[in-house]
Symmetry: C2
Amino acid sequence: MAEQSPNGDVETKEVEQQDQVVDPWSVSGGADGRIDYNKLLEQFGCSKLTEDLVERVERLTGRPAHPFLKRGIFFAHRDLQEILDCYEKGIPFYLYTGRGPSSEALHLGHLVPFMFTKYLQDAFNVPLVIQLTDDEKCLWRGLDIDEARRLARENAKDIIACGFDVSKTFIFSDFEYVGGAFYRNIIRIQRCVTMNQVRGIFGFTPEDNIGKIAFPAVQAAPSFPDCFPHMFGQRKDIRCLIPCAIDQDPYFRMTRDVAPRIGHLKPALIESKFFPALQGESGKMSASDSNSAIFVNDTPAQIKDKINKYAFSGGGATVEEHRAKGANLAVDVPWKYLNFFMEDDAKLANIGQEYGAGRMLTGEIKKELITVLTDMVSRHQRARAQVTDDVVDAFMAVRPMPCV
Amino acid sequence: MAEQSPNGDVETKEVEQQDQVVDPWSVSGGADGRIDYNKLLEQFGCSKLTEDLVERVERLTGRPAHPFLKRGIFFAHRDLQEILDCYEKGIPFYLYTGRGPSSEALHLGHLVPFMFTKYLQDAFNVPLVIQLTDDEKCLWRGLDIDEARRLARENAKDIIACGFDVSKTFIFSDFEYVGGAFYRNIIRIQRCVTMNQVRGIFGFTPEDNIGKIAFPAVQAAPSFPDCFPHMFGQRKDIRCLIPCAIDQDPYFRMTRDVAPRIGHLKPALIESKFFPALQGESGKMSASDSNSAIFVNDTPAQIKDKINKYAFSGGGATVEEHRAKGANLAVDVPWKYLNFFMEDDAKLANIGQEYGAGRMLTGEIKKELITVLTDMVSRHQRARAQVTDDVVDAFMAVRPMPCV
């Protein structure tokens, strides 16, 4: 996946313009620095993930929806109802997500799509492919190739620590897996897409290197099951559902456009909002600025320190003002983070009420968040400690995986 | 190799302009329809293959130079003297050539680089890699992928029939071999080349598909030995010599420009003139027009018929005129073909004298040519009949080949 950028190392554009810009490499809000997600739905032409769809997911899977669904964090989709139709009829489908390995350790934003994908894999009991686009990181960031491959393996450890089922999960890096049936699909896709089109979709210019220009096909190809003959044989009739942040939508709009022209089914998508930087939605969350995000290898002291020092608060400037006017939840980072990661719905609602009304103070909500994140990160660290190189090898091995 | 086009399925442009145009996809001569090879040397910036270099080849290899060298058919080079320096000092190098598999059977023009490469392999006793760009044929010609792969294997049989040493020769198709170290070099190269540059070098436009735009890196990469770990391990210090028709020079100019930027040695080149169509240098030799060329699977009757009917003659319009003025060898196709394929130097010189002076008639030189080609094609057919699928598999297997 090119970049889970807005959950990741998003380059937030210095905005002079009033219009928001969202593409796989940069996200900038409108005049107020905020993302208008309804506008984005319209702009991209994807569908709102409505409550009745969430209920249908619950009904079909017989388990409560993931908080990311209930809370509208995954808020958009394309053809999700068709995937649910398949599931209802017992027709197989598979999941595809990914990551561009650009940093040693993931931050919490990076975890969002993987936590959600883990839930989907469990709920639907389906195969999953995870692409690590080490090639893309070399093309965009000039990363050394061996370093990109090393980071891909390191990132795979954090991904595996999210709890995926090795018997149903194939993790691959492009530098290791491009070739054969995968490469043939890349060429099939590239044949259907012109420079003019990628200029329109991704904003590429003639100054861009030819690897960038060709890359969208590399991210598109895993949407097609015959890229994975060890999982799906030659079958082309298995649908793909892609959980990702909505900035990745352009890749899959392109993929969906090409699919029928090369005899493939269109992938479906389920798309999330962006995970904000500590400094707020208009801030830049970057792996190179360790104070912009909580990383999965941060210590409890670091977590506490970062939240207290950097997490943008929507609380009043003084205690008096706060008591009088309450917090502005729409811009409050601790509140937003809790919405992502606090599991207890009732408690979360209560915090929202109390803090929004000014009865709870900024220091108090930050304390709640520190507890939640410290717990979550330490659980992650314990899980990751179990992920040896052998475990990584097991997930990344091209092995017989009769999945369907 | 993108296309040995001018020895192959060259699209000869309808020339309104006075200037000759030579690129990997089309060749057109100047005002008189002929190629000015001296101008091409200057335009491309490669060096003339001088007689003293040919003599040095003979001295170093201890055998007579190939007729293609003695007769100026391979007429240009880049850094050939450095390859000879290596050879003299016992420093290893390897050969790289290729073909875009677009037709069922090769024609004689397609054989030229392979016949010459076979000579080089024998004379220098060096490893050889042969790229079959089945991907390229899909990108340019819309060929079905499985059909391109099938043609690649069919073409491999004709190539193997040229007599290569299986212990030193690795034949690969891109659809089978792209991946791993090869893919990593492709990305390294793509990172260094912009759309603007491929527009300048190859004339690509924004209407071109992104596969075409990225493809030059796929043809460039085999110039670097670490694409072939089963042959050269991780070594980057083994030089590459590329025998090809001069229309392929743009690919390798690009490659030579990129090489030092990614820690690789520049490949050297030895480049040929074009093998003309039966209809003459300004005619179009095409696999889709069976009367434009002699194919390696033509029968003796077809060869005789094509030469007699279609081979453009520089002879006089009438016997009287011919006797009086002689033949114009500069445009005479039978004479050109004999220059490629008649082994006997003395006999060839004699034919040139007699025919040029008008003492030998067009019918007579065509008869000589029919004998030479019928013999050559039947030898080829006998050799090809020995090339079973197992033999193809042996040449194309990624197997330990400790070459250096």
